[in-house]
């Protein structure tokens, strides 16, 4: 089997007495699209922090394309092709939307060449996301859902090999969610990225990813194709009482 592009082994994060992430293993290959789900506070975002170098895990190892990056600064992860979005958008508010996208191109993306030239131009990326009309608007003035889209654009500007998406579709209408999911699938297909995507809208996510991992109280309790994961008794148990998501998942 070929080497995983991103590999997390036994990743654990403690916040004082709280175990936010508990010995999570995850391997993702180029071209793979993996969903990550789990109830509120399951540790999904914290796990992303470790995968992008924002947080050094208490224990465990993280390797990108075979290089062990554990303990390295976030810009090293970015240089290795890991790009992410933030659940609460963290766009550069005073900069225009296009400068936000240009930022990644000037730094992490500078050394790598995309398979697809269209993403070498910040305006093309904005256009792809449907944000061309607001290119010169300061990012802080955009609506929250547009800021989430812009977060994707910033990550694409970094010319990623691994794209980490944290609830980019939250707050969107059903039609917009579908559109965003199609966009994400398109970049995955065109650029051959590994995509890891956290989303609360479980059903939509399940219909777009080929594989889904479930976190519960920090631990990974399931990992496999969406159909079998939805029927997994441990997953059903974890989601009991969670807005009837299990019924919807099983449906």
């Amino acid at each position: 089997m070929r080497e995983a592009l991103l590999s997390a082994q036994g990743v654990t994060v403690h916040f004082g007495g709280l175990v936010a992430v508990d010995g999570v293993d995850l391997e993702v290959h180029a071209g793979e699209m993996v969903g990550v789900i789990g109830p509120n506070g399951a540790g999904k975002t914290t796990f992303f922090h470790t995968l992008s170098g924002v947080l050094v895990p208490t224990a465990g190892r993280i390797a990108v394309a075979g290089d062990d990056l554990t303990g390295k600064s976030a810009h090293i992860y970015a240089a290795h092709g890991v790009a992410r979005t933030f659940q609460t958008p963290r766009v550069f508010k005073e900069m225009s939307a296009v400068d936000n996208v240009r930022f990644g191109l000037e730094f992490a993306g500078r050394t790598r060449q995309h398979a697809h030239d269209a993403f070498d131009d910040p305006f093309a990326i904005l256009d792809f996301l449907g944000l061309a009309a607001v290119a010169s608007v300061p990012a802080g003035g955009l609506t929250p859902s547009r800021q989430r889209l812009l977060e994707i654009g910033m990550a694409l500007g970094a010319r990623p090999r691994v794209l980490l998406l944290d609830e980019v579709a939250s707050g969107l209408t059903h039609a917009e969610v579908e559109k965003t999911a199609q966009l994400i699938r398109r970049v995955r297909d065109e650029l051959g990225l590994a995509v890891i995507w956290i989303e609360h809208a479980v059903r939509v996510l399940m219909s777009y990813v080929e594989r889904v991992a479930v976190l519960h109280q920090g631990a990974k309790i399931a990992d496999g194709d969406p159909r079998s994961v939805a029927r997994d008794p441990a997953v059903v148990e974890a989601y009991l009482g969670e807005e009837g998501d299990t019924q919807r998942m099983a449906a």
Binding site: S52, G53, V54, S73, A74, H75, Y77, A78, A79, A83, R84, F86, R90, V91, F92, K93, E94, M95, D99, R102, F103, G104, E106, F107, A108, G109, R110, M154, G157, A158
Partner: protein, 305 residues
């Protein structure tokens, strides 16, 4: 204004400033020198602090270091070389200190950079008393005032040119990202530590070089004069009142402040600090974007009309 107009204006200003020593009185020349010094200090301060939102009070420290390079090297070093070395020493120390403390932000960074000035001042005082048996130093053969004026003019112009170059460079973009959200900038590939150290050090170069250049002008220097915290505060105030995100703002505000200080000092010798303080409070309250925001507003109104 077209590009040609602004190039012409820049050229004329440069010519006028260069010819100043032969055109105006000694008093006016001294005043212009103060304007230029503060313009250079404020622009170089804003180069790092304006973009990154760091509050550095280290200007006095770097200025003083430069001044002492001149004082100690006065006999052996040609003036130009002393100024260059003054800048380089300040830049090197800024690099070292920056590497140690630039991970701190806000009040911590402000207090530490203020402490740096005090530390160096006391260290030099101690050294001079213990080993040189003196408190201050007399610079016996200073260059003539026209040379000093032209040196300071050159440094101020270089500070403006450097600030312009940094602003349109990748370093400038990195600094703006750091000012907006440092961690986000890191996740997009910026080695924020390196960018901050480089910019902090670059901005210290100008403070050091200006200190070295101005020391000659005072002929007698002691630690209290050249490490005067007032220089640091004044620089920060000028830059903030002018608009630290801009380049023209600190320049305009340096001129305004220097003239105003002089005018108030002459007209109201007892009240001038109070008046200056009041003015400052009003400016900060009603013009938080600095003087540069007036320009933006004016342009906006003009284009709206």
């Amino acid at each position: 204004m077209t590009l040609r107009d602004s190039m012409l204006a820049t050229l004329l200003t440069a010519l006028a400033l260069t010819a100043m020593p032969w055109l105006v009185s000694d008093f006016a020349l001294a005043l212009t020198l103060t304007c230029l010094m503060y313009a250079g200090l404020a622009v170089s301060w804003a180069m790092f602090c304006g973009a990154t939102n760091y509050l550095s009070l280290a200007t006095a420290a770097f200025f003083g270091m430069g001044a002492y390079v001149t004082a100690w090297g006065a006999e052996g070093l040609p003036y130009g070389v002393a100024v260059l070395i003054g800048g380089l020493v300040a830049a090197a120390i800024a690099g070292l200190v920056g590497a140690a403390v630039l991970h701190l932000r806000g009040a911590y960074f402000a207090v530490i950079t203020f402490g740096l000035g005090e530390l160096v001042r006391h260290a030099i005082t101690y050294y001079e008393k213990a080993y040189a048996g003196t408190v201050g130093r007399v610079i016996s053969e200073p260059p003539d005032s026209v040379t000093i004026y032209h040196t300071v003019l050159l440094l101020a112009a270089l500070a403006v040119i450097t600030a312009l170059a940094v602003r349109s460079s990748r370093l400038g973009l990195a600094l703006r990202g750091i000012g907006s959200d440092e961690e986000r900038a890191r996740t997009l590939g910026v080695n924020t530590r390196r960018a901050k150290i480089a910019a902090f050090s670059l901005s210290a170069f100008f403070a050091g070089a200006l200190g070295a250049a101005m020391a000659m002008r005072w002929t007698y220097i002691d630690p209290l004069t050249v490490f005067n915290p007032f220089i640091g505060f004044q620089t920060v105030l000028i830059a903030m009142v002018g608009g630290a995100q801009t380049i023209i703002g600190p320049v305009a505000s340096a001129v305004l402040f220097s003239l105003l200080t002089e005018f108030l000092r002459l007209q109201f010798p007892y009240l001038f600090l109070i008046l200056l303080g009041l003015l400052l409070i009003l400016l900060v309250l009603y013009l938080p974007g600095g003087l540069a925001s007036l320009l933006v507003r004016w342009r906006w109104r003009k284009s709206g009309a």
